[in-house]
Symmetry: C2
Subunit: 435 residues, 2 copies
């Protein structure tokens, strides 16, 4: 095993917000920051395997273009990486599958183009599991290279956690941002469904697919949110923790959380309460435990259709994880079952939103525990599935280490389309009890 995570002692340690400020002051250039990230990659990438593609010359050239343009985009000069299911005009997009090795497209996905327009440095592509489903590729957890970084946004979480790049795009259809972000000790953000344009991002299950971000500070998420959505950047509001109403949601799957995670969550609930927040136990509406069965139908039906070309033309290059998993689920599911499950989910969303009416945030586990050993399994998504299914914004904050020294996280859930408020409240919670 190796733990390659450390403070590097270079500009690679900067968060995006710190880098933007330093660049604005004239104390740093996009090129210098990009070179610092590339140096860090040169140092540890052979142990982490976070990147599906990074071309130093291209990254530096993109950085030089930003320095030369000189205008003040909100993320000016910040290198950002993209999960390798996101289209890019100047780098291959491989989808984590041998079917698309070296595959090139003619455009940047809107999220990439928007970040470039806001001054970001398009930096490299991060490893994804096969088509952002379960089958892993080679990425290792930088905190212990014998363990999974989680998936499917494996490389994004590992790269950001190991200070190889300050911010990376991930996507979540079940638990593919929050879980790896927690496993790698980073801040992960799954926006409200529909907020980030998913055009140019490979579909998995369109009803749930959510584009999001992995970073090392909550402020960075607000910054990149503004860039991605082409909205004015509004810094996070100063929130008084004592004004927050927080629901402690152990979920129907609490028994799946290990002792350290349960203790972490209880401790965090006590701490925010001690900081003055109104903390109450929060139960999701009836039907939570069986909701995953409905999700299996919807996910399977849609994913099996999305995968049609690859199933027909390249079946021998698809993993058994994929064919026997979500594809098989989908081919078993009739149209009526699909629509019945979708109706249950739609109804469940409305009931969940109503139940959350009196709370600002929910506090809940990010994952069942530390990153599992080995890289064959990316971990249990029981603590992520419901939030993705009901489209609510979710965030994981790093919260110390578990029994074997790997990172743990706590997850906060906000109200639908109140992401800025959730991020502001999360920053306050982090400052009050986690830092």
């Amino acid at each position: 095993m190796a733990n390659v995570c450390r403070t590097v002692g270079t500009d690679a340690d900067l968060t995006a917000s710190e880098a933007v400020a330093k660049i604005a002051r004239g104390d740093l250039t996009a090129e210098a920051l990009t070179r610092a990230c590339l140096d860090r990659i040169a140092e540890i990438e052979d142990q982490v395997h976070a990147f599906a593609f990074v071309d130093p010359d291209l990254a530096i050239s993109n950085a030089q273009a930003v320095d030369k343009a000189g205008d003040r985009g909100v993320i000016r000069g910040v290198p950002f990486a993209m999960k390798d299911i996101i289209d890019t005009a100047d780098m291959p997009t491989g989808h984590g599958s041998s079917i698309y090795t070296g595959h090139r497209v003619a455009w940047d996905a809107p999220c990439v183009a928007a970040c470039r327009a806001a001054g970001g440095v398009s930096f490299g592509k991060t490893v994804t599991t096969e088509f952002a489903h379960r089958h892993p590729n080679e990425t290792r957890n930088p905190h212990n290279t014998d363990h999974t970084p989680g998936g499917s946004s494996s490389g994004s979480a590992a790269a950001v956690g190991a200070h190889m790049v300050p911010v990376a795009f991930g996507t979540q259809t079940t638990g593919s941002i929050i879980r790896p972000a927690a496993f790698c000790g980073t801040v992960g953000y799954k926006p409200s469904y529909g907020d980030f344009c998913t055009t140019g991002v490979r579909d998995n299950v369109p009803s749930f697919d959510t584009l999001g971000l992995i970073a090392r500070s909550v402020d960075d998420l607000a910054l990149f949110r503004a860039a991605v959505m082409a909205l004015p950047h509004e810094p996070l509001d100063a929130v008084d923790v004592s004004a927050l109403r927080i629901g402690f949601c152990r979920t129907a799957f609490w028994d799946k959380a290990d002792a350290a995670t349960q203790a972490l969550l209880e401790r965090t609930a006590d701490a925010v309460s001690a900081a003055g927040a109104a903390v109450t136990d929060f139960d999701l509406p009836d039907g939570e435990a069986t909701l995953p069965d409905e999700v299996v139908n919807v996910s399977g039906f849609e994913f099996s259709r999305v995968m049609t070309h690859e199933r027909m033309a390249h079946k021998d290059q698809l993993s058994a994880d994929l064919l026997d998993g979500r594809v098989a689920d989908g081919l078993r599911c009739s149209y009526d079952q699909y629509r019945a499950s979708e109706a249950v989910i739609r109804d469940y969303r409305q009931r969940a939103y109503a139940a959350m009416d009196g709370v600002d945030l929910l506090l809940t586990p990010s994952a069942a525990g530390e990153a599992p050993e080995g890289i064959a399994w990316t971990g249990d998504a029981s603590f992520n599935n419901v939030w993705t299914t009901i489209h609510l914004p979710a965030l994981t904050l790093p919260a110390g280490a578990g029994p074997t020294g790997l990172p743990l996280g706590v997850q906060l859930i906000g109200q639908l389309h109140r992401d800025h408020r959730m991020l502001s409240a999360a920053k306050a919670v982090q400052a009050a009890v986690l830092l």
Copy 2:
């Protein structure tokens, strides 16, 4: 002016259902049918300009492969065309824009792959307006080449109307299937939102984008629906018109319909009533007239983001129609306005579904009248917008000709996710009163 529409007197006149039956009997091959379609194209394409790409050798080779495979897919041997915003592995995908002239991708969109898997012959790409927005390309209405075929699925409607291909894919974000289908004398079908997988189809406004079909018979829609959705083919049910409850919906925009269209709709309502259906006047819930204003916000917000790469990298190749239209709408709209409009629409949907509880079908205009003269304007979408916005399945049936001899259509609306029932009822209505 030229009217190039006529019965060709070859297998190009066959509907997909007729062709499937003839092929199953051994009286026709995919190759012979494909050659008949190619002959028809050779005859009139220089006047109609329906195709963005058709390579006779490739189409024939695709047909030969189907003949050779010999298995019994539900659309075995039927050539189908694809609007040129739909990805294809063996043909360019140009999006109706000079930015993507000759643009190639590595895969078939799932809808194409599914039709190939079901025995269809991937035939060619049909002309779309620029990115399926308003700016037209060169397609002409085959019933009068001085007139627009409508848009944005211009080439699909023209090709099917002129017997160049039996079935073609279209997409609708406002009125882009139903209107051109009506203008070209064809049967157009916009499925319930979400039923047809839109992966691999260029996004326009993801909240409304709907993939659908243009054909020459209602049966063909059921056949292709099964193929596209990878579901068992269930022939349409025999429906007794006298058992139908039909709401006659003149809409808030009735005054925009010309006299011939108003008369056609009144006549059709009388005829289905005379055939025994329970016909009642149907008013959409309050808010119908202002719903388009909300749609402008949502459409603009999403489309302006979808178009980010092209706006940043190829702005000089975008039309003023696009930049000053939906993109400008979107850049004016704040996030809060976007979400407020989206909430109004979501609420409106639920009220509309409730209002439709007692009816099987709504009867409403397909368009304001005949296809307008000239090709600069693809026509008014007032009679399509609301149905796309509220996600209901819609169908247009050819219904005679207007004052200048161009086709008119009547539109039928079904209940959400009851498309098979809508198609069955529509077939009965067509047989009873329109044929």
